[in-house]
């Protein structure tokens, strides 16, 4: 084989000039710059697309609405609205995307809209470029990259949501409660001593249970875990159980059930109050409440929602219904 003589193929040299090539490269650079600018503009549009409802000027409203609506169509067509916590005809958390997870909602409502908007505006810039440089084949790659990024974000949102739902079901995390009465009035309990005590009571005897449910007597209890996950459980303070959205039953402590009962009957949240005595009676007398709670002497009757009361020398907030009978 080696001994075989090579074939004499005549030399060919390139005779043309480089003008066309330089022109193509220049057009590519200019086109790429235009795509980058349009994409950035798209990102900004996408980031603000969720405010389209509040825009009055129709053309702007339309431009902003497109990425949001596309994103909404993708998510809602797949997940529907079945998973949204529903109470008394209103959404407890104002989102139709992933109500159980703020992170998943952020990915769905903001990130996906940003990517969709970037892809749409980038594609517009792409199609205005030189057809010889920005060919359909390259556009397919360009489009595939965007689709990949969007699908990854959607997948990420679903994963984050699935994890959130799982953690919610197991009641994991640092909870903040919103207690509801049977009339649908809700009151959020923030941090501070009240929140801390509620949390302690909540976890003190929490255990999975096999209890026969009494649907009639159940009250909603909104819980936000670690400020990023939400769920609406149902609580029966008589039978001392809590049901998660997925139907998992837990036994709750007497103290926690007492808080729910107290809010239902008196519209006040004062953790540590004994069952034998109502908050209204104690507050009415101007005496110290259990656990060191007291309100200023002479304060009797009337509205006391948001009243500063002192506990262990520190001011804490007693939460109650305005205009309620308790106050």
């Amino acid at each position: 084989m080696e001994a075989q003589e090579k074939i004499e193929i005549p030399e060919i040299t390139y005779q043309g000039d480089d003008k066309k090539l330089k022109e193509r490269i220049f057009k590519f650079k200019a086109g790429s710059f235009r795509i980058a600018i349009f994409t950035i503009v798209g990102f900004v549009m996408g980031a603000y697309s969720h405010i389209y409802v509040s825009i009055g000027f129709f053309p702007v409203k339309l431009i902003l609405a497109i990425p949001y609506k596309v994103s909404e169509a993708i998510y809602v067509s797949v997940i529907g609205t079945d998973g949204v916590p529903w109470q008394e005809g209103e959404y407890l958390f104002s989102t139709v995307f992933f109500p159980h997870s703020h992170i998943a909602t952020f990915l769905a409502e903001i990130c996906t809209a940003i990517l969709i908007s970037g892809a749409v505006y980038g594609a517009l810039a792409y199609f205005t470029g030189d057809k010889r440089v920005f060919t359909m084949q390259r556009f397919v790659k360009f489009g595939a990259l965007w689709c990949g990024a969007i699908l990854l974000t959607i997948g990420g949102a679903y994963l984050v949501n699935a994890k959130a739902v799982y953690d919610n079901e197991h009641l994991r995390g640092e909870p903040h409660f919103t207690v509801y009465d049977s009339r649908g009035n809700g009151r959020g309990v923030g941090g501070g001593e009240t929140g801390q005590r509620m949390k302690e009571y909540f976890y003190s005897e929490l255990a999975e249970a096999d209890i026969y449910r009494d649907y009639e007597e159940e009250l909603p209890l909104g819980i936000v875990f670690n400020d990023v996950r939400c769920c609406v459980c149902r609580v029966n303070y008589e039978k001392m159980y809590l049901v998660t959205e997925q139907g998992k039953l837990y036994h709750i402590s007497e103290e926690f059930a007492q808080i729910i009962r107290q809010y239902e009957e008196e519209g006040v949240i004062l953790p540590g109050l004994p069952q034998s005595e109502s908050a209204a009676e104690i507050i009415g007398r101007g005496e110290a409440l259990p656990g060191g709670c007291r309100i200023p002497a002479g304060r009797q009757g009337g509205t006391f929602f948001g009243e500063n009361i002192t506990r262990h020398g520190q001011k804490v907030l007693a939460l109650g219904r305005t205009g309620g009978t308790a106050g």
């Binding site: 090579k6 074939i7 193929i9 390139y14 193509r24």
Partner: protein, 163 residues
């Protein structure tokens, strides 16, 4: 590496390869520009594992294959010997002979398959090593050797019978 330097090193090799593969100077020029645009776009990914010329020829082959598959599949096949009109009367004898020989070689090359043509061009026209050819075509050096042997034999058989 700067694009200008890469372009200077590759332009004749890429253009020559494409002229022999397409037998159309204008088309070869157009495809060459596509090759150089790709080189420009991916210059940052060029790691220097092979020479710039080998890299450019690999891109040229990909561009040619993608063009031929879509637009002219006939360029991938062995073609019939093409009889051209004799236009050597108005030229000096030596130049006419040279042109005739070059044309004969081109027509012979077109009678080979795309792989045989490519392997011959890479070895005998571009003078690449077996390893470099193997890198472009995805063969081992041993396979390259045997393919070159068979391609040359086939080329000579056609050249001697038709030329």
């Amino acid at each position: 590496m700067k694009f200008a330097a890469a372009y200077e090193q590759c332009k004749d090799s890429v253009y020559g390869y494409l002229v022999y593969m397409t037998r159309d100077a204008l088309l070869a020029e157009d495809l060459s520009q596509e090759v150089f645009l790709r080189m420009y776009l991916h210059l940052d990914k060029f790691r220097g594992e092979a020479s710039v010329r080998t890299w450019g020829l690999r891109i040229a082959r990909n561009v040619f294959l993608s063009y031929a598959k879509k637009k002219q599949p006939v360029l991938l096949e062995e073609q019939e010997w093409e009889q051209l009109p004799d236009d050597s009367q108005n030229r000096p004898e030596e130049e006419a002979l040279k042109k005739e020989k070059a044309e004969g070689i081109r027509r012979c090359l077109m009678c080979l398959s795309e792989q045989e043509r490519t392997i011959l061009l890479l070895r005998d026209f571009q003078e690449l090593s077996y390893e470099e050819i193997g890198g472009i075509m995805g063969y081992t050096p041993e396979v390259v050797k045997s393919r070159i042997y068979r391609a040359r034999r086939k080329f000579r058989r056609i050249y001697e019978s038709k030329g």
